[in-house]
């Protein structure tokens, strides 16, 4: 982007997010669960500007589901997840079904180690990710905000790492900014902050710390006005990215006048 361009956006031609060779138009990934209605969900996805949308893979029910998420979002880049899986085996099976159902090799690998905290089981996660990478999947693991785990996942060939900002659905924001900054600075693959974002400022912080993207669901779906919050997140992610690229001023413990100190009237 040029210095004279007054309409800078985080999605300028030379600042596209690239995952596994795929250039993406938005640094916001959006989830599709928990909206008041499928119509509001579709409107929110549109307002978010997100290209990547997450979906889950579930058994068809005997009752049948009136709403068809797949049809509603046709044209989006689907990132199916393995949400709810507690073993590598189940996550692998879910990934294989997702690849067949959606004709995509992209998979958000989530292996939950504890139903109360929804914390990742990193041991099972590593097993699942290694298998899926070897099987040709484009693997994006939901993982702890642990620099070593993120490094191991990148080393084994994951296309991105998706450390938690804080607990899934908690809205606590980036619980450990120092860790996230460290992960972003060291990661050879894009870092997508997944889980915990509660409002726009949380997304800005994640992006300012160096995240390549944010994956947000609950903060949008459960907002009083999901469509408006989706738009807010779109701007927040772009603003945070721009601020990260622009480089913030150092923090100081004292005042620094911004206006000239010479030629004061009356002195």
């Amino acid at each position: 982007m040029t210095r004279h361009d007054t309409t800078l956006t985080a999605q300028g031609d030379d600042d596209l997010l690239e995952i596994a060779g795929q250039k993406l138009t938005s640094r916001l990934f959006i989830g599709t669960a928990g909206y008041p209605s499928q119509g509001i969900m579709a409107d929110a996805v549109r307002a978010s500007g997100a290209e990547v949308v997450t979906v889950s893979i579930r058994r068809v029910s005997l009752q049948g589901h009136g709403s068809d998420t797949f049809q509603k979002l046709k044209g989006a880049r689907f990132l199916p997840n393995t949400a709810g899986c507690e073993t590598a085996r189940d996550a692998i099976m879910t990934a294989e079904l997702a690849r067949e159902a959606l004709d995509t090799t992209w998979i958000k690998v989530e292996v939950i180690g504890n139903r109360e905290t929804l914390y990742p089981d990193v041991v099972e996660l590593m097993v699942a990710c290694r298998h899926l990478v070897d099987d040709g999947f484009t693997v994006l693991p939901y993982c702890n905000d642990d620099p070593v785990i993120c490094e191991r996942l990148a080393d084994m060939g994951c296309a991105a790492v998706m450390p938690m900002g804080s607990l899934i659905g908690s809205g606590m924001g980036v619980a450990n900014p120092a860790n996230l900054e460290l992960i972003c600075r060291r990661s050879p693959v894009p870092v997508v902050v997944d889980a915990g974002i509660g409002t726009a400022s949380d997304a800005v912080i994640a992006m300012e710390l160096g995240a390549a993207a944010c994956l947000i669901n609950t903060a949008v779906a459960k907002a009083d006005d999901p469509v408006r919050m989706a738009a807010a997140m779109r701007h927040a992610v772009a603003a945070g990215r721009l601020a990260h690229l622009a480089g913030r001023i150092p923090r100081r413990g004292r005042a620094e006048p911004s206006s000239p100190q010479l030629g004061l009237v009356g002195s």
Binding site: V55, S56, R59, Q63, Q71, F78
Partner: protein
């Protein structure tokens, strides 16, 4: 024959995966896109549905993309 579809034991008059899907799709008003099927823990690619024969006691999973985070 007796099959287990999505964890539920049932009786279906279907010789292959394609025939079973046709029955389930009608009963459950399923779309034809965004669907995947596994037979005894292995994904059966859609082009292979007609030639994949079912046997007594087979476990079939029929899944679809749904809302998710």
């Amino acid at each position: 024959m007796r099959l287990i579809v999505n964890g539920e034991p049932c009786e279906r008059d279907a010789r292959d995966v394609a025939a079973l899907f046709a029955i389930e799709a009608e009963a459950r008003a399923l779309p034809t896109e965004g669907i995947a099927i596994a037979l005894n823990g292995r994904v059966v690619r859609k082009p292979s549905w007609p030639e994949t024969l079912l046997s007594e006691g087979d476990r079939i999973e029929i899944v679809r993309a749904m809302q998710g985070g």
